[in-house]
């Protein structure tokens, strides 16, 4: 009875597939099958295959081109069927190949969907049908606050503090960016105001979480409620332009950021206008991603922050102050979240209106998890959510899908993405746990 006779792999494991692996395959097959089926329906329901499209951000009658929806939809279907067969035979090995295959499957589904959505339009007098345009510039625009918020969340969690309150930081950042910009008559001052407001909320979070060991989930929810109430209250105190035009212009009529076109780079096709014709805030966002990644993984500060998030006691026993590392990470996170908040006023529409971020802080939080607590991953996830928001906007010009349903789609995508594609991940081990010296 001593040793078992079961066949083994080289590492000594018994050669069986564990349930999680089987489950993963089943999930893949089901998702691909649903996608293929839907694309099949899309392809079948296209009657008039002529679709206008352009790679620019806006369609112009003279530069738009046409394509055949049948060809695109059936190729997409073909790709999905091949992927489905491979998955069913378990021939897709995990790793970057699988990543590419699934990215392709996503694109195929998107293409098939667009074919259905834009085909068979009632032609409008003068311009004909509405064209498919490049979604990327808007994707980057929408992703800007999400990426910044996700960076804040990543920094905090890496240090072992759960930051649910990104939404609250967005709100305060948005409000005070507007006020600062209005007062100083400068959009850059607005960014500074937003960042400071983000840090202020962060210091509340740090104080209660690190110093007083309050449950961080409850604390986050309370902070969001506080920020929502406070910004609404303060907004109510600002007279409207009709009541007192002078005061209103000093408090809530901010200068907004203009797009800055970077020569040469902005002329790169498709990506150029998306990445290099954005406002200062987007360029700050790119820099922030690089900065946070570098700080976390290449510096002494980052090593200690990550250590504190994994095993605070170990850090304490080598003579490093745990609370100080956590404070610094949470406060730095506040800068990014506050900048993200500034997007909703000086970065886009201007004046602060009630609840401008409208739940996007939670999407940023989802991006932290979907990005597996890594700044690059979080950025990718936030960009995906930005893409969903941009798509929602572009689809709203036609009424093929109910507009209310359409506006819920990004959130639905969030749930599906987090539940279905996050897989086995490990958060920082001490995330959410206050450190009590014995």
């Amino acid at each position: 009875m001593s040793t078992s006779t079961a066949p083994r792999t080289a590492s000594g494991d018994v050669a069986i597939r564990d349930r999680a692996d089987v489950l993963r395959q089943v999930k893949t097959v089901v998702v691909l099958a649903i996608a293929a089926l839907l694309v099949l329906l899309f392809a079948l329901s296209v009657d008039d295959p002529k679709i206008y499209w352009t790679l620019e951000e806006r369609a112009r009658l003279d530069t738009r081109r046409t394509l055949n929806a049948h060809v695109v939809a059936w190729s997409a279907f073909g790709y999905l069927v091949v992927a489905l067969v491979l998955a069913a035979l378990n021939r897709i090995r995990r790793g970057w190949v699988a990543g590419l295959v699934f990215f392709g499957a996503g694109l195929a589904f998107y293409a098939g969907f667009l074919m259905w959505f834009f085909a068979d339009q009632r032609e409008l007098a003068g311009i004909g049908a509405i064209s498919i345009v490049n979604p990327l510039p808007q994707t980057v625009l929408y992703a800007t606050p999400l990426v910044l918020g996700a960076l804040a969340g990543t920094l905090c969690e890496r240090a072992g503090v759960v930051n649910i309150a990104i939404e609250g930081q967005f709100l305060m950042g948005a409000f005070f960016a507007s006020v600062a910009s209005s007062l100083a008559y400068s959009a850059e001052a607005g960014l500074l105001g937003g960042a400071l407001a983000g840090v202020a909320v962060a210091s509340l979070l740090a104080c209660f979480a690190i110093k007083f060991h309050i449950n961080q989930i409850v604390l986050g929810v309370v902070l969001i409620a506080l920020c929502l109430g406070l910004t609404n209250f303060l907004l109510g105190q600002i007279p409207t332009a009709r009541e007192n035009p002078v005061l209103a212009s000093y408090l809530n009529q901010p200068v907004t950021l203009d797009p800055i076109r970077i020569p040469v780079l902005a002329d790169i096709p498709v990506l150029g206008p998306a990445l290099f014709n954005q406002s200062l805030l987007a360029y700050l966002m790119y820099a922030s991603v690089a900065l946070v990644t570098w700080l976390l993984f290449q510096t002494r500060w980052g090593l200690r922050v990550r250590a504190v998030g994994e095993h605070p006691k170990a850090v304490d026993t080598v003579g490093i102050n745990v609370a100080r590392r956590r404070w610094s990470a949470v406060l730095l996170g506040g800068v990014f979240a506050g900048l993200g908040g500034a997007f909703f006023t000086v970065g886009s529409t201007g004046a602060f209106d009630q609840n401008p971020s409208n739940g996007q802080g939670f999407i940023a939080l989802a991006a932290v998890i979907m990005g597996r607590w890594h700044p690059i991953g979080a950025t990718a996830a936030a960009t995906f959510f930005g893409f969903m928001l941009a798509t929602r906007d572009q689809l709203s010009v036609l009424t093929k899908i109910d507009s209310e349903l359409l506006s819920a789609a990004p959130y639905l995508a969030t749930v599906i993405a987090v539940a279905g594609f996050v897989g086995r991940v490990r958060p920082p081990a001490a995330s959410g746990e206050p450190y009590l010296k014995s």
Partner: protein
């Protein structure tokens, strides 16, 4: 460096963990601190290392009084400590762990990874620790992790090195390696405070021995003292180191596992095709270093984790897919490894804890209501029978000492008719008096014909109880041997020796 402790006292509320301790550690000596679990050894060391603040008393380094408000201060004075529970960040590399707190940097705090790795490699060679700087700590065997901890102390130029129960997680061979390292350090002039509760080790390596009992130093002796003398000093009375056990013919297999496979949440196989038979009226001990799949094996036998492959039968019936409750009701008794999280509800009274898995029975319930009188009577009887030292039956279990907590668990499990008893680390963190008692009860169950499966990392316990010994290494049972097998041989098996393909070689490869 000479370290003196004078009248050091530590109180937690009204409880005195250390009571006026005097101790002197000379330069270049291995000073052994011997004491039972809960005697206050770790508390004393935590004060030396600046993790706890002394209530009274003073610490002198080379005759000069010092006071440490954080470990940083202690490190600066040349004190290094390897904690009982390792203080390593599992997802970091060896070099990162060693560097943490004293990072090599370029310019404005940019990590110089190459310099850190070089430092590890140099020190590792100088002290022959064979540690690879770029390995991720969580992938290393505990023995190597411990050497990483020692490296950490060495890079901080420790003159006094505290090792808190370093051998608890090691195989006998790894223990010997550790002793060799300790002797090399001593030769270089490092003083070592070596903490343990294993008598054999003390005599092998110590220059001087101080024994701590209930927070007091009760004696300092030389390693020439006999084991019996040391045990008596440690416990405070004569102890019986062997369990009375009669020869007994084992019956038919009762609990059988075939090719069990368990996968942990990270997707690694931790039990790799284990087959076992536990027979009626025998004690089968699963020996092995912690973390070789024993925990998961036991949990899968109980149904607390699902087996990915293989089957389990109890008295001929397949129970592979039964729920834990169904298995308990079929007569499996279970003493879990981590009693405070799996064995009892700390904030419940002893009375309630004694019926945690019995309250549904006829005896303790009437319809949906509990039969409180019967439960109270049961508690009185069990407290008497199992000698549970408590002020009353309504005392919360969390307030009891480790030994008495364990007796509550054992009493509950043994108060229903069993066919199989599964006990993991039944005497971990339990005082010697309770160990004797629990061992006797386990043997009594065996004598009544119960099939007993014990999992233990303590070889002394294995030898005290086993009729047969199954040794686990790397998720497999490498061999099943008789109770007279020599210690060295079992030690080799615990390190994977005799296993044709990998095992021992593996360990050396990684190291």
């Amino acid at each position: 460096m000479k370290l003196e402790i004078r009248g050091l006292t530590k109180r937690f509320g009204s409880f005195t963990a250390n009571d006026g301790i005097d101790l002197t550690v000379e330069e270049g000596e291995i000073h052994c601190l011997l004491g039972e679990n809960g005697a206050g050894k770790s508390t004393l060391m935590n004060m030396l290392y600046g993790l706890l603040e002394p209530t009274e008393g003073e610490i002198l380094v080379d005759g000069e009084p010092v006071s440490f408000s954080s470990p940083g201060d202690a490190i600066d004075r040349g004190i290094g400590m390897v904690h009982q529970h390792f203080m390593l960040v599992p997802v970091f590399t060896v070099a990162e762990n060693v560097a943490l707190g004293r990072e090599d940097v370029r310019g404005p705090g940019i990590l110089d990874r190459r310099a850190s790795a070089r430092r590890v490699r140099e020190l590792s060679e100088a002290y022959r620790l064979s540690v690879e700087p770029d390995a991720i700590v969580e992938t290393l065997p505990v023995g190597v992790q411990q050497r990483v901890e020692i490296l950490k102390a060495l890079t901080r130029e420790a003159k006094v090195l505290i090792l808190d129960e370093p051998t608890a997680v090691l195989t006998p061979q790894e223990t010997d390696e550790l002793f060799a390292i300790m002797r090399r350090l001593k030769a270089e002039g490092t003083s070592i405070i070596f903490i343990t509760h294993k008598l054999r080790e003390v005599r092998a390596v110590a220059d001087r021995i101080s024994v701590i009992r209930r927070g007091k130093v009760v004696g300092t002796t030389s390693p020439q003292a006999s084991e019996a003398e040391l045990a008596e000093l440690m416990v405070g009375r004569k102890v019986n180191l062997v369990v009375e056990k009669s020869e007994r013919e084992a019956g038919a297999p009762v609990l059988s596992a075939r090719d069990l496979v368990v996968v942990d949440p990270r997707g690694h196989q931790v039990v790799k095709g284990v087959s076992l038979d536990v027979r009626a009226g025998e004690v089968l001990c699963v020996a092995g270093v912690q973390g070789n799949g024993q925990t998961e094996l036991v949990k899968s036998l109980l149904g607390l984790v699902r087996a990915e492959g293989g089957s389990i039968t109890l008295a001929g019936e397949d129970i592979t897919h039964d729920s834990p409750r169904a298995r308990l009701e079929r007569g499996i008794g279970y003493v879990p490894e981590d009693r405070s999280s799996d064995g009892f509800v700390g904030d419940f009274s002893i009375r309630d804890n004694l019926v945690l898995d019995l309250f549904r029975s006829e005896q303790f319930s009437r319809g949906p209501a509990l039969a409180l009188r019967a439960i109270a009577d049961n508690a009185e009887a069990r407290i008497e029978e199992f000698d549970i030292r408590t002020p009353s039956a309504s005392t919360h279990v969390a307030a009891l000492s480790g030994g008495n907590q364990q007796k509550v668990v054992v009493a509950r499990e043994m108060s229903r008719p069993l066919t199989v008893l599964i006990a993991a680390q039944p005497t971990r963190g339990v005082d010697v008096g309770s160990i004797e008692f629990i061992h006797q009860r386990i043997i009594a169950e065996r004598d009544q014909g119960v099939a007993v499966l014990i999992v233990s990392t303590e070889l002394d316990e294995v030898y005290a109880l086993a009729d047969r010994i199954a040794v686990m290494y790397d998720g497999r049972v490498v061999d099943v041997v008789g109770p007279d097998t020599p210690r060295e041989e079992i030690g080799l098996l615990m390190a994977g020796g005799r296993d044709s393909t990998d095992g021992q070689n593996d360990v050396e490869d990684i190291a």
